[in-house]
Amino acid sequence: MPLPAKAFQRWLHGIAPDTSMADVCRLSKVKRTTLAQQLVRGKVAEATVVSISRAFGVNPVDSLAYFENYRDLAGPQIPPSPQELVSQIATVDLLRAVIARSTPAVEAGAEAEAEAGTPAGLETGAGQGTGPAGSAGPRRPGPLELSPAPHATSVKNWVDAIDDGELRHRVSAATGIAPQNYSAQLTANRLAPEVAIATSRAAGVGLTGGLVATGLITEEEANWEPGARQAALDRLTDGELTALAGERLQALGKMLRRQEQDQEQTEKIWENLG
């Protein structure tokens, strides 16, 4: 449920006491009509609070914590698990990592010493598996910069990453959302902020993970360490990385195939009835 307008007014007064609504909208790039409508309805979207927070240099998570429904966001959060971090890496970036690991020659210049004598990428992976994360990070510099979260399937990948097999049932029980509606939201790469938090809670992970996956807040705002995703990626063994990339590709293929079928079907309908 979005934030009550009354509480929103109080919060806004707290962070921008002398700013007119027009200025707030101008600075935060929230459309005036949108905000006005939300206020009239008495329900302000979380995204509005996030935009305004950013405009006034306040951490959006702290802002959300001001509101009753999001109280639990106050204070330190459990840091994201490696699986969560990896789930927020775009499929293309995972594939790049696969390619980079299997063609050591490309990076030979940067890590000639480390790679010397190793015939294939597999060796590299094994080395990383045993080494600590800190040492793995600097070994993959420059060209493999990860695109920022979220990505095209980040919501579903995130839930899959924290799902123990019963998560969907627990979320459904806790929020009253029918499992098929929940799945539909995941497939559409959407999740209402409160449902994202309910999901985190049901999975026992940090509460901000879902907010990052849905793109409401950035990794930085969620207090994820810079390079945390890269580090988690580097910690994957070649086997894990390849299997994960494979899964993602398969899911992507399925999704594209379905879109193509829908497109075909749509054209057929138009051809006959349009």
Binding site: V92, A152, Q259, D262, Q265, T266, K268, W270, L273, G274
Partner: protein, 248 residues
Amino acid sequence: MIETLQWTTLIVCGAAALSRIPNLIHKKNRSLFYIFALLTVATLLSIKGPYAAIDGLLGNTNVANLLLRFIIFGTIYFLGIRIAKAFGDTYGLQLIRGRAGYVVLAAISAALIVLFALLDTEGSSAGMAAVSMKDERNATLVEYYGAAGRAYPAYVCLAILPAMLRGVRSSLPVMLRLGALLLAIGAAAITLSLLFPLIPQSLGSVEFIINYTAILCFVFGLTLIWLARLRAGRTVTAHPGRPSAGRG
């Protein structure tokens, strides 16, 4: 109230037919124009005043009613085929255009003509109401005649109904799903019309409401699909080069 519903339906059908004239000229999906035109004629023939006028020209023997039945058969036949093809429903298409479909159509048509011949059809009367009031025998025959007239549309609608329901639940664009929903409601209503004999006389207006609702649902459903196409056409020209598929 029923009069209003009838004339509204007539206007809506006529407007739908008119809106397809550009497509008719461009030779694009011409059958849809004919379907709407036939629907308009069928609606016209089901309204008291126009019916009396047209039947008067045909000799006051309710031949117009028989004509109306066959216009409905033709409309529903072509409409069913179009819809089944559009939604990729080969099974439904088979049921309409396959052997079974033609056997059903032939049997029902024969029954309709025989029953009509057995009736004492003197005296124009929309819906043959006056004919059925002549005597017991005519009343029973009109009942059977009406049932035969509803049987074929119900058969076709039943054939396409599953595909419509699948369309509603699919992941197609929202407007197409809404269109499929309207078509499904129309098809369901026409199928329900098989149960008309069970409706008590006092609730006679229910039959009218079901019939015209069905026609309106079909027309609006098809129009929605057409509008979706027009809108998509515009969007495509507005964003050339935008990839339609999702990005990984």
